[in-house]
């Protein structure tokens, strides 16, 4: 990959982060759980995307981001109040921005009319400010009604759309308007600023581009050559800037260096524009060598005339002054970007280490070394250490589920718009961490479940009101860790499953025989049956040819389980239980026909030794075992997997009770149990191919390969 492509890739990665930040911020503002920094963070996110996009010439993206940013800036400056209508527009804008980023990255056709529509709405929202901006002194939010702007019907008669361009924002020195403001910027770089390949000159240049700048350099700290660290930072500057920009825009110049310099920006009170220009005095106390520079043609006379003489000392500035570095709420987190392949390689190697360690400890046992000998004790320590390394390495791959939850909030918005329902998404446990692969592979199933919840789960607004519920439906998504797994629940407060209808359809589609008695939960489970869809018309929303059976299969492929519970009139809850990682698994090591196999511990309910009276024959070959008043099918694993041709005697076997999806219990017959062990999963499909009843393989302490059973497949295979 060439350098440019690599930089571009980094840009897109950063965009994803910024987009997440943007959405988090907007949602926080929407739920009124925000502090003043939130809007700044939102603004910065859009601004960064715009900046990067500009560097890569992604014009469409820049254009949209710019308009979005302009509106956000007005909100930030208090000229527009973020009411519900505006927030909705901003959330939709963030969706469009995300789409534009993705289209810029992956190519494809963007729905231009939609972009244009949102773009227009944003422009209109931003334009509202044009009126108060013309009256310079008073940014009075109460003076206008922002709500009207979003109501296309009532768009005011005297309202003329104005296209906002870069020049309006960046300010063209030649057109000094009455909105011009004087800022005193004090800027003292730290060595880190230079070390990170930034340069004070570049930043000063950017400041100058904002308007008319009077730059004074303080060189009093520059030491003699013998004491000079060539890469140190000794210069500091005081800049008096006259520009038609907001204070925030001035601070933006230092946005990427805010932690690497001391900088303060002080807005001076506005003065009469006819005031005569007097060159700014340099504060003698800060200037060992006062060196005011004549900017020559950079400052047009017209502008000079409007720059007022005010004291340059930032210390005497009005209290409105805000220091850029004041961002205590957000603690800087140090992170590095690492290629996923490297992490996976590390995980692989640690896996090997675990195997090697257990092989070593087995050799030591075989060599007859005493358990209390120093070698054995040392090995125990090594084992503990290996475990810790493994956990830490796994933690690298673990990521909070937040991004995927965020993605769902967009799905909800879109689906709700499409089907004309008002829906609120409530999320909990977004910080719950799961393996990256699990998160990635959850996106599709979750999207589908959310679509279903909005489209089928929630009633129409009028039906909700009839049922005495609030018009706005609630979809709840929660994540939590529970006994080594992560549980994700998606629930709605809709009408619940219409069981009579589900049953009727299942009969019609031949999923079940007519007249079969089914419990409520069995009827609910029919939703997961292949080819089942309750929507009478295939809607645009959830009817995309993917049924809940596909959702179920994707969850199973992740080593997870899905279940459903529904209460009439109160809603439906889908519960996903997922492994935290796909790299290791706690398993029960068993023997079958001389083979060593691993049964995933999560599937096991209990183990028992069948006794004569408990085992009953059923039909020609099938056997069941009676436990606590119910009959459970006995499955001979050795026979099923083809390890032997005759079925084993249940009385000489151990029965492992397993629970597969739908809470169906079965008993797997094995010859004996060796013990419980954490094993490293090695994909069989990648290295060999898919084998019935086998989920994956692992390498045991003695160096032999053992297969990990696919319990669900074996149970399902037994039934069919």
């Amino acid at each position: 990959m060439d350098t440019m492509a690599a930089i571009k890739q980094t840009f897109f990665q950063e965009c994803e982060e910024q987009l997440a930040e943007l959405e988090t911020g907007l949602l926080a503002i929407e739920s009124e759980e925000h502090d003043p920094d939130t809007i700044n963070a939102v603004f910065r996110a859009v601004h960064s995307i715009k900046g990067g996009a500009g560097a890569f010439g992604l014009e469409e993206l820049v254009r949209f981001a710019h308009t979005f940013e302009t509106t956000l800036d007005l909100v930030r400056g208090g000229q527009i109040q973020p009411d519900a209508g505006l927030l909705k527009l901003m959330l939709r804008s963030s969706d469009i921005l995300a789409d534009l980023v993705r289209y810029s990255r992956d190519g494809g056709e963007m729905d231009e009319s939609r972009v244009a529509q949102i773009h227009d709405e944003l422009t209109r929202a931003a334009n509202l400010d044009a009126a108060p901006a013309a009256k310079p002194a008073a940014p009075a939010p109460a003076a206008f009604e922002p709500v009207g702007a979003f109501d296309a019907g009532s768009a005011d008669d005297d309202f003329v759309p104005i296209t906002i361009s870069f020049d309006d924002i960046l300010g063209d020195g030649g057109e000094a308007s009455s909105a011009e403001q004087i800022y005193v910027v004090s800027f003292r770089p730290k060595p880190e600023l230079y070390a990170k390949a930034n340069d004070a000159i570049k930043l000063l240049r950017e400041i100058r581009a904002l308007g008319n700048a009077d730059v004074a350099c303080d060189i009093s700290d520059v030491p003699l050559l013998t004491e000079l660290d060539p890469e140190g930072a000794y210069l500091s500057w005081t800049i008096r800037l006259g520009a038609d920009v907001t204070e925030a825009q001035v601070r933006e110049v230092f946005e990427f260096v805010e932690f690497d310099c001391d900088v303060s920006v002080t807005a001076e009170p506005k003065v009469d524009p006819d005031f005569e220009f007097v060159p700014a005095p340099i504060d003698e106390t800060r200037q060992a060598m006062p060196l005011p520079v004549d900017d020559g043609p950079i400052i047009p006379e017209a502008v000079l005339a409007k720059i007022a003489q005010v004291n340059a000392d930032p210390a005497k500035a009005p209290p409105a002054a805000a220091a850029v570095q004041a961002q205590p709420a957000q603690q800087a987190q140090t992170t590095i970007r690492v290629d996923l392949d490297r992490v996976d390689r590390l995980i692989d190697l640690v896996g090997e280490l675990v195997i090697n360690q257990s092989m070593l400890s087995q050799r030591v046992t075989e060599a007859g070394i005493a358990r209390l000998s120093e070698v054995a004790v040392g090995l125990d320590d090594l084992e503990q250490l290996t475990r810790e390394i493994q956990d830490s390495v796994m933690a690298i791959r673990a990521q909070p589920v937040r991004p995927i939850f965020q993605r769902m909030s967009r799905v909800i918005r879109e689906v709700a718009d499409m089907v004309g329902k008002s829906v609120r998404l409530v999320t909990e446990g977004e910080n719950c961490e799961v393996d990256k692969t699990v998160i990635e592979r959850l996106a599709d199933p979750l999207t589908h479940m959310i679509r279903n919840a909005v489209d089928h789960g929630l009633e129409k607004p009028e039906d909700r009101i009839k049922a005495g519920k609030p018009e706005q439906g609630v979809v709840r998504m929660t994540a939590a860790h529970r006994s080594g797994r992560v549980i994700i629940e998606v629930s709605d407060d809709g009408a619940g499953i219409n069981r009579a209808r589900v049953k009727e359809i299942a009969v019609k589609r031949g999923v079940i025989e007519p007249g079969v008695p089914l419990s409520d939960s069995e009827i609910d489970d029919l939703i997961f049956a292949p080819g089942f869809s309750t929507a009478s018309t295939v809607s645009d929303v959830s009817g995309r040819g993917v049924g809940m059976d596909v959702v179920k299969r994707s969850i199973q492929a992740l080593g997870g389980r899905i279940s459903i519970s529904s209460k009439p009139g109160q809603g439906t809850t889908f519960t996903l239980s997922l492994p935290l990682t796909l790299a290791v698994l706690d398993g029960m090591v068993v023997t079958v026909a001389g083979q060593t196999l691993v049964v995933p511990l999560t599937a096991i309910v209990e183990t028992l030794q069948p006794k004569g009276p408990e085992v009953h024959g059923l039909g020609e070959r099938a056997k069941v075992i009676a436990i606590r008043g119910s009959f459970i099918p006995l499955i001979d694993v050795g026979y099923k997997l083809g390890y032997r041709h005759d079925e084993a005697d249940p009385l000489n076997s151990v029965a492992i009770m397993v629970e597969s999806e739908n809470r169906v219990q079965s008993a797997l017959m094995v010859d004996g149990i060796i013990g419980q062990q954490q094993v490293v999963i090695k994909s069989l499909e990648t290295n060999y191919g898919q084998v019935f009843g086998v989920a994956a393989a692992t390498i045991l302490g003695d160096g032999r390969v053992a297969v990990i059973l696919d319990v669900d497949a074996i149970v399902a295979g037994n039934r069919s």
């Binding site: 004070a200 000159i201 240049r205 730059v215 013998t226 000079l228 060539p230 210069l235 520079v293």
Partner: protein
């Protein structure tokens, strides 16, 4: 004034952070002599090289030696101007 005795130091075209260290060493090497700095080739200048130049001027001033900036390029003059400085700041006349 350039005296016939002054030692010539030529500034490289790129005066970025990587040039600051070598530049400081170069000046230390010629310390105690009158120098004439040829700045005609400068294409780009960063704040840290300006610091080195200012430090050299202060050192030469202390030593009572002459430090002259000859033929400053447009890029250098512009860089200095951005930083609120001018070529006169890079001159020490003590002789």
């Amino acid at each position: 004034m350039k005296s016939a005795m002054s030692t010539a130091v030529a500034l490289p075209p790129v005066l970025d952070i990587t040039a600051a260290g070598p530049l400081a060493s170069e000046f230390l090497r010629v310390r105690g002599k009158d120098v004439s700095v040829d700045a005609s080739k400068v294409e780009r200048v960063g704040a840290q090289c300006i610091q080195v130049l200012l430090s050299a001027v202060a050192t030469w001033t202390l030593d009572g030696m002459e430090f002259d900036l000859a033929n400053p390029s447009a890029a250098l003059v512009e860089g200095l101007e951005i930083a609120g400085l001018e070529p006169a700041n890079l001159v020490a006349r003590n002789a």
